[in-house]
Symmetry: D3
């Protein structure tokens, strides 16, 4: 009997009930102000992952030994950010209620807000670890409160001072940098201070939502993104940093802003796949 065509991220073949981590995609980029295309990120990662090995020589572990379920992409309404966030929050909420870690594949960075709303409902003392080239701290963007450029500001509305820890930020308006200095744990340009932040959060066993905007990587490594910002971190620096974060109590996570059609060489999608593999292995190692 022939089977229908199932397409998951490589090595993510646990059943939902057996899984500890659940992938879900949010193919949404309606508020992207410069170059759209992040909507195609999750499916490209799934599709190109067949060129990836499941084994990580960095962690000497194999993704096939982790318990990951890939629930596919949400069907989101372009042009209606509030509805899209509602659908994301609902999916993340279900996964959290079932005691699993939701791992969101964006899409533009605004999608993070849906997942953070769900996580903050379950964990009112939630912290956010934020890797990004951009501060994303504008109060509004051309009048819109729900924009990729405002997403961390909206998270701050929910969580308040001292809960958001930002790294590798190297672009934004002057006001955003001033806001960051006043209200977030702010580390521009690189990962300096990450080790200290994580050791503090580990002591508190604080629940952490971990959001990675892939444009934290240098554009030489990751050109396929809407707003590439020269001067980012290297792939190996990111791997090291994410493994460090995963030693703490991560309760939800996301990878955002791969826009695959902006990089015809395929290098960006391949790098994103590898970051996801390393993140899944590191998260699963911690929770299993």
């Amino acid at each position: 009997m022939l089977q229908p065509n199932i397409e998951t991220f490589i090595g993510c073949e646990a059943s939902y009930s057996d899984s500890r981590i659940v992938l879900y995609g949010a193919p949404f980029d309606s508020t992207t102000s410069f170059r759209p295309g992040a909507r195609f990120g999750p499916s490209a990662m799934r599709h190109e992952s067949f060129g990836l090995e499941t084994y990580s020589p960095y962690q000497d572990l194999d993704l096939t030994e982790c318990a990951v379920f890939d629930s596919g992409d949400l069907e989101l309404c372009f042009g209606n950010p509030e509805q899209a966030l509602h659908d994301i929050e609902s999916r993340a909420g279900k996964i959290l209620r079932d005691g699993k870690i939701p791992l969101l594949l964006g899409g533009e960075h605004l999608v993070t807000l849906g997942a953070v709303r769900a996580a903050a409902k379950k964990y009112p003392n939630l912290h956010i670890i934020h890797f990004d080239a951009h501060a994303d701290l504008r109060d509004h963007y051309l009048g819109a409160k729900l924009s990729h450029a405002c997403v961390i500001r909206r998270c701050w509305d929910l969580l308040g001072d001292g809960r958001i820890h930002q790294f590798v930020i190297r672009s934004g308006e002057q006001e955003e940098f001033q806001f960051a200095k006043a209200h977030t744990d702010f580390h521009p340009f690189d990962f300096e201070g990450l080790e200290h932040t994580i050791s503090v959060l580990r002591k508190q066993n604080a629940p952490i939502y971990f959001t990675i905007d892939l444009d934290c990587l240098d554009p030489s490594v990751f050109p396929g993104t809407g707003t590439p910002e020269a001067g980012g971190v290297s792939f190996l620096q990111l791997l090291k940093a994410l493994r460090m974060v995963c030693t703490a109590n991560v309760v939800g996570a996301d990878l955002n802003e791969l826009a695959p059609s902006l990089d015809h060489s395929g290098v960006s999608t391949a790098a994103a796949c590898k970051v996801l593999r390393e993140l899944l292995i590191a998260l699963d190692t911690k929770v299993k």
Copy 2:
């Protein structure tokens, strides 16, 4: 004294007060459901027009002898279709009140709704001539009423039966084709019937809003668009048809759905520029 850098569509150098036609761009594509990028259409047309001649051998007239003003692009809020439509309606309204023809460069096709609202306010008996590969007659798309896939349906909400004349349609849901047969003057696949439609409208001196979705062209001629549909009309067929439409009383118009980055050869942008040149000359010849 050095002058700042002014960039207009080639040959459109009348002052606003002297002009009979006014260009304005709507770089918006938030509701595009498949491949975005139409936001870059208007600036690409302006930018690449310097490779175009202003003289039309088809009409034996020169664009520099027409009275066209290029007012640049609106700054629209991505992710908020209602606000964007409001801003477009407002710009179109001003141009109409000043007795000129507004010519909108999209952007995705939804932008047409803003301009049609303004035109229908001034001309309650407005007709629409619609060239497109897609019927755009859905009542809603994933719950959204304001979507590129619904734009002509929203125009029908305003104008009712018998006012919308559709040509070259070759893609849509079964329900859209059924709706079209019941409620619009529907001509699938090609321009058959256009001559008759125009002769009737000329007799009535009916005010016409003329909306051209460039994907009415065959993808061989115009690959740079979000949803290319094989089986369209040729460039020369489109030129002939638009000159025919411009013999009637056109009070507003638009060109939509050029997504320049989907066609690295530049052929699509060059074709769109030429369609605009021919449209401007044909419109201006009629009104001057």
Copy 3:
């Protein structure tokens, strides 16, 4: 309970047992002599089909009302054509034994041989209708008997004179054209003679394997293929021809030679998807 991510060609959602037509992909292009990439054809068609409507305005029918099952892609061994052909023959054989029509998505054209072997086993009086830019009639290519350039010659080895009907051929060696004139029902350049051929085959109720190399289309319509040959047929000519073929007794079919990465505009994949939709609807209409 969340479901895993199933990806099929749009509208092909029958169960295997209910289906009348079964899709299967052969992502193989090892023998391609010029530009490879057809291996990515089947997955690109599935992936991009979500931009397609299921309704055909040409046939006024909807793909969702057909009974098609998509069994996904075979996992084929690159560099070993004989093994790949064996796996294809085995899949086609099972579908034929279950009384369904196998519809193969290539891949390079050599994959047809596997399906033809299976069909000829069940139907010894099999005929082949062949649409292609290339004659594919070489006896060997650089010493290899199993090459995309030899596939119809290998079919002739199986079926003999008078069984192969070739259309739109416009490229080949002088010897291939001479062979064709002697041994096949040969119609270079276009579809002239197709109506007559089909009417003869209908009278005989001859079982037909229908193989479409998409490079029969003009490169303006379908640039994304390994060896584009100027001077081909239009999209509408192909649609008309394939509907004509489907009035006869087609027992197996394939679509080949989409190399999606050779056409960044996506136009070729979109055209291939539409050809597949029209072919499925036409086949299903005949058999249901």
Copy 4:
């Protein structure tokens, strides 16, 4: 004993002394005003020709039976048009003196002037058949007399009224079209009148220089060119027209304006190769 790597256009392997036609490339595009890249045309044609069959089903003849020598590309000085033209004239002159037909591969269209100077020296009563989208009749371009936009005007300086026969022209300044109507045998848009022109020239046995700007082709067929102009002729129309021209007394020829890097699909280079094959066979058939 191993041989060094020789690269010629496919099937052009006669020795210089045996040859009747001699290819030479002019990789020059310094005066291109819009998008450069035609400098890479000749080497791309040589390089990609290995994907072409030597047999022409249109003429039922094989290029390997013609006597063509490929002398490779001239090494031209960018930024110095007069020097480049001198080098081209010198190469063309030698080939003409040796009693062979020089066939020049451009490069931008200005290169034609070098070859025409050499031909006009040998044949003072030279005529020019000119296929092009552009009139190329400007007297100067931003002050330069030697520009691709002026090349036919410079030829007219040499040859005067009644000697230049222009076809398929569909772009230019108003002045150029007026000049053409007064001074050349002018056929805008298509090949109408070609048959008559050729029959007159055949009666006179007039020596003809035949210059083909490949942008006479529609951009759907040939997007890879600096200034694509919608509304051109089809590939089959061009083949028919060039075979007609080759029944007259062609003493020199060129193919220009392929800019291969503007068309990543490779379709334009493949089409150019096929035009060259057909041109070589038609020319050789006449002279052998």
Copy 5:
């Protein structure tokens, strides 16, 4: 009253009279010997700069607080280097006479010669700081004295020994490297020695023309250039170096050799925009 469409580099909105720095573009690449396209550099930078923030976190300053006027692009004659240099010299001369810093956007590197001629006229004791992958010290290139490959040699003709300070050079002919060792202050491969050079020039308050060929950057960071040379400096190294140079008495500057169409990802243009922002802020900080 609607305004015409003004397009400047982002944040450069001072009036000419108020400005301290004046941008002007030289879209010229006629002498480029390998891959042309730098002509599109200045307009691409202007056009894509709307994706850039005006705030520099590196210098904690905002471009909107600087006094920069963007005078647009010169209209230069392709194929005539001497005329183009004359026009550039004339524009640079006017800006210098008005007591402002001219900042030239190339274009190929030859354009620097026009600006240097103007600067050397005003400042006979001019020094040049030159960042580049290539020595550009050939005496002639295929017979041409005015070529991108000779531009620094031509500057040396004007200024003589000891005035030219070259950094990051990693490509050239053996003779160029020997010439450099004898006649320029030569620092191959990286910025070693820059600090010392600048401190000496500061002590002398020497007037400096600062020319940056963006291919000094590693191609991983800046692939969009005609002749990419592996082994270059990083973006952060370049930022640090240019800020160091701007502490001295820079009287004119340029950024060259962005060829945007060679990098479809847009990363190169984005990097060039950021280098320009940082350069403008650093220059303005020094002079205001």
Copy 6:
């Protein structure tokens, strides 16, 4: 007398008999499992090398002073790996018998096996230095023993334990890493240990076959390859390492896995050309 068009890698113009090193290309990629295209590597390197200087500032030597002959590409049968390996072995054998160093340009990495077979025949105590992102140590791949993923395993079949020295490996199956630890001199991630390995081999004067899979480079430097793996070495690290290897007794070498069409910027081909220039100079310096 005009000469035919000879195309060699720049500066490789010795006669075969005078040469010490002989280039030969193997344009083969039939077993590539992910993205093919390496077949175009050798011709792209030859073709693009005209943009390269022959002088190496790193070694202060000029390629024109080395004695290199370029014998062009083998004509290999796609789809038949064993035949292709036989043809490669035969060419390498002849060059070795003539006392020269064969330098193979791939193609996919499987081609190395042909050259290693020839070298092991002449030098039974052959060692292999292997730079690569991938271990290439699978015993079979989807049933095939002759696959790019198995090539070093096949070499191990020939040579046994202790003869293969692997560097920069960062991708593979868990089993491959375990095999490597047991059977090869294994250095994952970077060049650590290379100096020691080379000093041991130099003491033994061991004959070395040196195989460089260019994907050892970081994808930021070299995106144009079938399976890019983030986290590789830099260009300067590779240059330093290859010069170190060339101080030992290298008897044969290859450069593999450039897939030029995957990198439209041309940066990968340019980098590969430079690696080849540096390798040729370093090899020739040792042997002359």
